[in-house]
């Protein structure tokens, strides 16, 4: 399922003294099956754009096409349910949305709102818990007794249980430790493969963009300022700095090497790409497989 924005403007509280324009002339496509990263510094309009992806907000002007549905300023707030079922959003710190007495009930909450029977929803919930890598023994526990990382996984399972076609992730790894971040990102990559999901990732982590995304949308001051593959986005470091964005660590490091006189074409984005590029240039003497290392 694809999402298409055409000339979308959005203004908060129009016609009041507190009127603020948040989005201006947004034109973009999130292709079906893509792993799209949405980047931009804090306050660039990412959160507002995100809420248009399942019509939590409707454009002030322009149209948003989500699958078959066209959302215009005149779209009624009713009958948006089927849309929200198809586009699942995992908000930042999603553990804050848990409320049921047990984990299984919380996961089953979404599907039941979309008309799935209780027994069926509970069955789905059980499956989802395994899918996010949690043990079945947690099903009947109170979500508030779990660790922070576990609570987040339960919340994500609650969104997956609606069986959306598009999964939107708003900074899903914020506040986790490095192992937790790694596991979480790997889990989304796996879900995408296994479930054939279209993924939209809102993030500040350029390394995650380099490692996982195949399509990037850059926002600044409520506008889309660039779209393209990670390769296209990261090839111009000066431009990124101007928009208060960083580089993937590898790209920044490759720049240091380029300043010394090394050449890379294309510029590497991940450490494996850089390693492969270096291997071609390194002298044969450094190859020898395992060497002394204190591990």
């Amino acid at each position: 399922m694809a999402i298409d924005f055409k000339q979308v403007d959005f203004t908060y509280q129009p016609g009041t003294p507190f009127e603020t324009k948040a989005l201006t002339d947004i034109n973009l496509t999130i292709p079906d099956g893509s792993y799209t990263a949405l980047i931009g510094h804090t306050g660039s309009g990412k959160s507002t754009l995100l809420q248009h992806l399942n019509a939590l907000l409707k454009p002030t002007s322009g149209t948003v096409t989500i699958g078959e549905r066209v959302i215009t300023p005149a779209t009624s707030n009713k009958d948006l349910k089927s849309l929200r079922q198809q586009v699942g959003i995992v908000f930042q710190f999603p553990e804050n949305q848990l409320f049921e007495e047990t984990v299984v009930k919380d996961i089953a909450f979404g599907p039941q709102n979309f008309g799935v029977s209780e027994t069926e929803a509970l069955e789905t919930a059980e499956k989802m818990l395994t899918l996010v890598g949690l043990d079945k023994s947690l099903l009947d526990r109170s979500p508030f007794d779990l660790s922070g990382g576990q609570m987040r996984r339960v919340a994500i399972a609650g969104v997956l249980a609606m069986q959306p076609k598009i999964l939107v992730l708003d900074e899903p790894t914020a506040g986790l430790d490095p192992q937790g971040r790694l596991d979480m990102m790997e889990m989304f990559a796996r879900l995408r493969r296994e479930q054939g999901l279209t993924v939209v990732l809102v993030t500040h982590q350029m390394d995650d963009v380099a490692n996982y995304a195949d399509h990037v949308i850059v926002m600044d001051q409520g506008r889309v300022v660039k779209t393209g593959t990670p390769q296209e986005i990261f090839k111009d470091p000066q431009w990124l700095v101007e928009h208060q964005l960083g580089l993937p660590k590898t790209t920044a490091f490759a720049q240091q090497l380029m300043a010394k006189g090394l050449q890379f074409n294309p510029i590497p984005l991940t450490e494996d790409q850089l390693a492969a590029a270096l291997v071609a240039q390194l002298p044969a003497t450094v190859f020898g497989g395992a060497e002394s290392h204190d591990e």
């Binding site: 510094h41 804090t42 306050g43 660790s147 922070g148 990382g149 914020a174 506040g175 986790l176 430790d177 490095p178 192992q179 937790g180 790694l182 500040h204 208060q244 960083g246 660590k249 590898t250 490091f253 240091q256 090497l257 010394k260 006189g261 090394l262 450490e271 494996d272 850089l274 390693a275 492969a276 270096l278 291997v279 240039q281 390194l282 002298p283 450094v286 190859f287 020898g288 497989g289 060497e291 002394s292 290392h293 204190d294 591990e295």
Partner: protein
């Protein structure tokens, strides 16, 4: 250098835990005056609990904590808290004042500092963290990084000897994280502050003189950042990001390249690679 913090055989258990289940197990270490020590460990390893034991927010089951020559007890706890400034993880939940300057003044009000002195100390502190122009702003209109800098200004104004950072940058965006870390480094230069930072952030850990690794409530390792960082991929399990040079080393190793066992900084790594390739 004299020891400003000394922790000896500290055991801690939360009230809801059973008797044989401890969150902190026999922890001993000391911190020298003016030192910057990073405490790392994955979430749930007990490192925040450890920090709260040092300024008496939590009381240990057994063991002693000595801060600046005073043994922590019910009698000394308020004296010791005056010497320790603590910045927590969530920028919103530690902002007490209704405006920036009110928040910076909060510790001073608690110590009964006269108002005239407060005015200058609050202003100076805000200038130091580069937030003076926001003095009368309300917290709702600040970014996370700005709120954390206000919290740091509160510490500067109160003039503690020790600064404890309990994952103070973990909820910030890269820009905010960078600004806060810069501010801390500047504070360290401006005064002979001792810093204890609990973190997952490799840049924060790299700023430290020494790194302590906590796992499952025990102190499992300590050393200089370079000694700890050379663990490579095992760092992730310790709750620390991998330094970039180590990540690249691991990738090169996968390609069959012999890499140096010692920790290299990014610059060191770049020099090493350049030397190999240019001398080919």
């Amino acid at each position: 250098m004299s020891q400003i913090i000394d922790v000896a055989h500290l055991n801690y258990r939360y009230p809801q835990q059973s008797a044989d289940d401890l969150t902190l197990k026999d922890i001993s270490f000391s911190v020298a005056d003016g030192e910057w020590v990073a405490i790392v460990g994955h979430n749930g390893s007990g490192k925040s609990t450890l920090a709260k034991n040092i300024n008496g927010l939590l009381a240990p089951v057994s063991g002693t904590v000595t801060v600046d020559g005073q043994v922590l007890s019910e009698k000394t706890v308020w004296d010791i808290r005056k010497k320790i400034g603590m910045v927590f993880q969530n920028p919103d939940n530690q902002f007490v004042g209704a405006t920036v300057e009110d928040d910076v003044a909060f510790s001073l009000e608690n110590q009964g500092v006269p108002r005239d002195e407060m005015l200058t100390r609050v202003h100076d502190a805000l200038v130091q963290v580069n937030m003076a122009e926001f003095a009368t702003r309300e917290p709702a209109r600040l970014s996370g990084g700005q709120k954390q800098r206000v919290a740091l200004a509160g510490m500067i104004a109160a003039r503690p000897r020790i600064l404890i950072l309990d994952e103070a940058t973990s909820m910030l965006d890269p820009q905010g994280r960078y600004e806060v870390l810069q501010t801390i480094q500047q504070m360290k230069i401006n005064s002979d502050l001792t810093v204890l930072s609990i973190t997952h952030d490799i840049d924060e850990a790299a700023s430290a003189n020494r790194v302590l690794v906590v796992n499952d409530g025990r102190l499992v390792e300590e050393g200089q950042p370079a000694d700890i960082f050379k663990h490579g991929p095992a760092l992730i399990k310790m709750g620390l990001d991998m330094p970039y040079a180590e990540r690249l080393k691991a990738a090169l190793k996968r390609q069959g390249v012999k890499v140096p066992a010692d920790y290299l900084t990014e610059k060191g790594m770049a020099d090493w690679l350049w030397q190999l390739i240019s001398n080919k």
